[in-house]
């Protein structure tokens, strides 16, 4: 079948290109422009890939690192750690659930309402680069949310799926600011949902010293230079703190680095090893190794 010009065509068909199979040669200008276009497309794809890497790829390794860190933390009780009788399965078999058996602990300071806050010698000893000081639980952020705490806030600590302790801030066993940093959008986004925290929510810091119980008291957004949020008494650098505060810092707003989202939580209680675990934590597999989870005695 041959193509004939449409009948209404006024002029004869222009002569078709020679029947040879050679493609028409592109002009030099066309080649240069085409190559330039390809480079632009390549750069665009590279940019997109970088975003994919930052938001997604970094989370894979960090999440597996977080799981390993938790397992390792709970598998390696410090030397000389007392045998814990959690009152779990073993005791129930014998029908002699003895209830919580809080271990003796050294009191570091006392809250206004008389609550005694225990010392944290184990946490203070776990400040090496590969060590986990403890684990922080915030039930509001998820039933399985558990963040290992490393000592330091460089990428070596906070890129590994957990939170990092600002080294110049205090420890939970003294009046002052126990300040932690975590990622919002990258590296497993430990504090990605930090803004879900509401006033009164409990935050638990668990170590081989016990559970430090905090209640969220304040949320605000500051510039990255507002280091007064890390002060012993947040907002008043140089002032002496009388009680313990936990501070979460992360990026704000989402997908940006412009500001910092800050939550302060005040210490309200301390549970020694072997004591009654808070109901909200009882379902975490490791908590029953260290605390009594058999319900209120």
């Amino acid at each position: 079948m041959t193509l004939s010009p449409p009948r209404h065509a006024a002029s004869p068909v222009p002569p078709s290109p020679p029947a040879g199979k050679k493609k028409p040669r592109r002009s030099v200008g066309s080649k240069v422009l085409g190559g330039f276009g390809e480079i632009l497309i390549t750069l665009g794809v590279l940019g997109l890939l970088f975003v994919v890497w930052e938001l997604w790829w970094t989370g894979i390794e960090a999440e597996s690192d977080r799981q390993d860190s938790l397992n390792e933390f709970y598998a390696n009780a410090p030397e000389g750690f007392p045998e814990i009788s959690p009152g779990g399965e073993d005791d129930e078999e014998e029908g002699t659930d003895s209830g919580p058996t809080p271990a003796d602990f050294e009191v570091c300071y006392t809250l206004d309402d008389g609550t005694e806050i225990g010392c944290a010698p184990h946490m203070r000893s776990q400040t090496g680069p590969e060590q986990i000081m403890g684990t922080v639980y915030a039930p509001r952020l998820g039933d399985t949310w558990a963040a290992p705490i490393r000592h330091g806030t460089t990428t070596n600590q906070i890129d590994r799926g957990g939170v990092g302790h600002y080294v110049h801030t205090e420890f939970p066993d003294e009046p002052g600011n126990f300040a932690l940093a975590g990622h919002r959008n990258t590296n497993a986004s430990m504090l990605g949902n930090q803004d879900d925290l509401q006033t009164g929510d409990a935050i638990y810091v668990v170590s081989y010293d016990g559970i430090y119980v905090y209640e969220v008291a304040e949320r605000h957004v500051v510039t990255p230079q507002s280091t007064e949020v890390l002060a012993s008494l947040p907002g008043e650098p140089g002032a002496e703190a009388e009680t313990g505060v936990l501070t979460f810092t992360t990026c704000h707003p989402m997908f940006s680095n412009r500001e910092r989202l800050i939550h302060h939580a005040e210490i309200v209680d301390f549970v020694p090893i072997g004591g009654q675990a808070p109901d909200e934590l009882a379902h975490h597999e490791y908590i029953s190794q260290l605390f009594y989870t058999g319900g209120e005695a």
Binding site: E38, R184, T186, T250, C251
Partner: protein, 53 residues
């Protein structure tokens, strides 16, 4: 540029060139993700979440 690479540099029949292309792309993406981007992020402020002490 890419057409020339596909037609002139890669050897073999069409199916082989397609497979080679996919393999090369996978290798490049993996290299970017594991080596180039982590290096690049040292110079990027995006992952910086801490207060500037």
């Amino acid at each position: 540029m890419y057409a020339w690479f596909f037609n002139e540099v890669l050897p073999g029949p069409l199916w082989l060139r397609i497979i080679l292309t996919l393999l090369l792309l996978a290798a490049i993406v993996y290299g970017l993700m594991e080596v180039v981007f982590p290096w690049l992020s040292e110079y990027s402020p995006l992952g910086d979440v801490t207060m500037e002490e």
